[in-house]
């Protein structure tokens, strides 16, 4: 059992060191959501008033509404990017080292997913801190309650990323992932607009958003940030995390990539 713990903590430590050493990557990951918050949301505030909806107790400015979606956007980008690089990029070298460990492959992959998810949380909280200074201030206990919700979402999205990169050859470059995974997941969700607004626009658009796992991720975090519990979102996120992780581990096989390349 100790060997597992030493191994897991070693993997987390490595991700932490890489995070600390690659500050530019960290900063660039923050620029994206900050642009949305400071530019997009500011401009949109005039156009979109948010009525009283759960979990908020009052009318809210658009910047407040968009924060959970942007926090999840960081996790979405990190999850996809991290998992893709795990399989295809330069990290292939370090992946080979990981796989020479005598511990079970399932354990190694799950540890890696968990480690990158933990590091992503640091970026999310850095973003929330800046948002706080900007004036978006959820309750302090909400920030604490959101921690496990954010970790669950990070895990779900990393596992989805790994599953997709195992399964789909066309996703080998990040542009493909942006167009076919990240954008649809993000825009067809409640990250930018509440679902009732979507329903006003179109019924089928509403249903697409309501069925999107990312909507549930955003709502789980939104509710947690305001100290509320959303059982449906939690059930969906837990279920999908288990499903994605299971399928990702089962389909993970560097040999498949080699076989595809040789064909």
């Amino acid at each position: 059992m100790n060997a597992y713990w030493h191994c897991f903590s070693g993997i987390v430590l490595r991700e932490w060191l890489r995070f600390v050493l690659q500050r530019t990557r960290f900063l660039s990951a923050l620029v994206r959501p900050l642009l949305w918050l400071l530019v997009f949301a500011a401009g949109f505030r005039a156009a979109l008033g948010i009525a009283i909806i759960e979990p908020y107790d009052t009318y809210i400015p658009y910047e407040v509404y968009i924060i959970p979606g942007l926090a999840c956007m960081i996790l979405l980008f990190n999850g996809m990017q991290g998992s893709l690089s795990m399989v295809y990029d330069r990290e292939m070298g370090s992946m080979r080292v990981l796989l020479t460990s005598p511990l079970p492959r399932t354990f190694l992959l799950c540890s890696k997913l968990l480690a990158t998810s933990l590091i992503s949380l640091l970026q999310v909280y850095a973003f929330l801190a800046i948002a706080w200074l900007y004036g978006v201030q959820p309750p302090a206990t909400g920030l604490l309650i959101a921690l496990p919700a954010l970790l669950l979402v990070a895990l779900m999205l990393s596992a989805l990323g790994l599953l997709l990169s195992n399964a789909i050859r066309q996703l080998e470059n990040f542009a493909g992932v942006m167009n076919f995974v990240i954008f649809p997941l993000f825009f067809l969700s409640s990250a930018l607009y509440p679902l009732w607004k979507m329903r006003e626009a179109s019924e089928w658009l509403y249903w697409l958003c309501a069925l999107n796992p990312f909507t549930h991720a955003v709502e789980l975090v939104r509710f947690a940030l305001y100290e509320r519990f959303n059982p449906l979102a939690l059930a969906v996120c837990v279920g999908l995390t288990i499903l994605f992780a299971l399928l990702a581990v089962l389909t993970f096989n560097p040999q498949h990539a080699a076989l595809r390349k040789s064909n």
Binding site: G93, S262, N263
Partner: protein, 250 residues
């Protein structure tokens, strides 16, 4: 080549075959490596060396046949097998931004070594590879030869019985290449570690080495290098050419 007397072979490859779809990369490969021996695996490009390494390091799953490291089957008991295997890959797999010591500690963690064990082992390997003074340097700042030594230190941290080096001298200047080769031979002798050294450079092979020649996915020759040379042309160069012209693949 199992000349280890009663001692268990460090490596046994039995009836190993592997195909990428319809294309066969390895066909019925059999060989053994005795403890403390230095074996050179020679083969032209495309001979199947990379596939063999991928199978030995469990990157690929076995399709047919078996590989036993220190008596443990990679198919049935991968954990004890991998515990006894140290690997230096062809392309560097170090984290360039991490220090020498951080790289080593990460590897020790992957093998489940405790903090105390790790401290002892890292210290021992840094000393042995003459890297103690560079422990805090980032790998990015090291030259090619030193990086290779870090990788060797890393591969030996968990005290494997078998050290696998896949074209480890690629990219090094001639002097560093020679030094590395000599260094591994010393390790092999002093620590009684078995070494499987894959290469396509004949000058890295010595007369007393065990020699394995792979060609078109088949092991076309195995035995002591000087004996094989005598049997197939007199010197190693002509033996290698004779064995790796396509007609030689049986």
């Amino acid at each position: 080549m199992g000349r280890g007397g009663d001692a268990m072979n460090a490596l046994e490859v039995s009836d190993l075959s592997f195909a990428y779809g319809a294309r066969e990369a390895l066909r019925h490969v059999n060989f053994e490596l005795a403890p403390g021996r230095f074996a050179a695996l020679l083969g032209p490009n495309g001979a199947g060396k990379s596939t063999l390494i991928a199978l030995l390091t469990r990157l690929y799953d076995l399709q047919h046949g078996d590989i036993r490291v220190g008596g443990s089957s990679l198919r049935d008991a991968p954990r004890p097998a991998l515990k006894q295997l140290g690997v230096v890959f062809q392309q560097s797999t170090l984290d360039l931004d991490l220090s020498v010591e951080q790289n080593l500690r990460y590897h020790a963690a992957l093998h489940g070594l405790s903090r105390r064990q790790t401290g002892i082992r890292v210290e021992a390997e840094l000393t042995r590879q003459a890297l103690s003074e560079r422990r805090s340097e980032r790998v990015r700042e090291l030259n090619g030869g030193h990086r290779r030594r870090v990788e060797i230190a890393r591969a030996l941290l968990h005290e494997p019985r078998l050290l696998l080096l896949d074209e480890a001298s690629v990219g090094l200047d001639p002097a560093s290449r020679l030094a590395l080769n000599q260094h591994i031979r010393n390790l092999c002798r002093e620590q009684a570690i078995s070494v499987l050294w894959t290469t396509h450079l004949l000058d890295e092979v010595q007369a007393s080495d065990d020699l394995l020649i792979l060609h078109q996915g088949r092991l076309v020759a195995s035995g002591q290098a000087d004996v094989l040379s005598l049997e197939h042309g007199g010197d190693l160069g002509s033996a290698f050419t004779r064995l790796t012209t396509s007609g030689a693949a049986r």
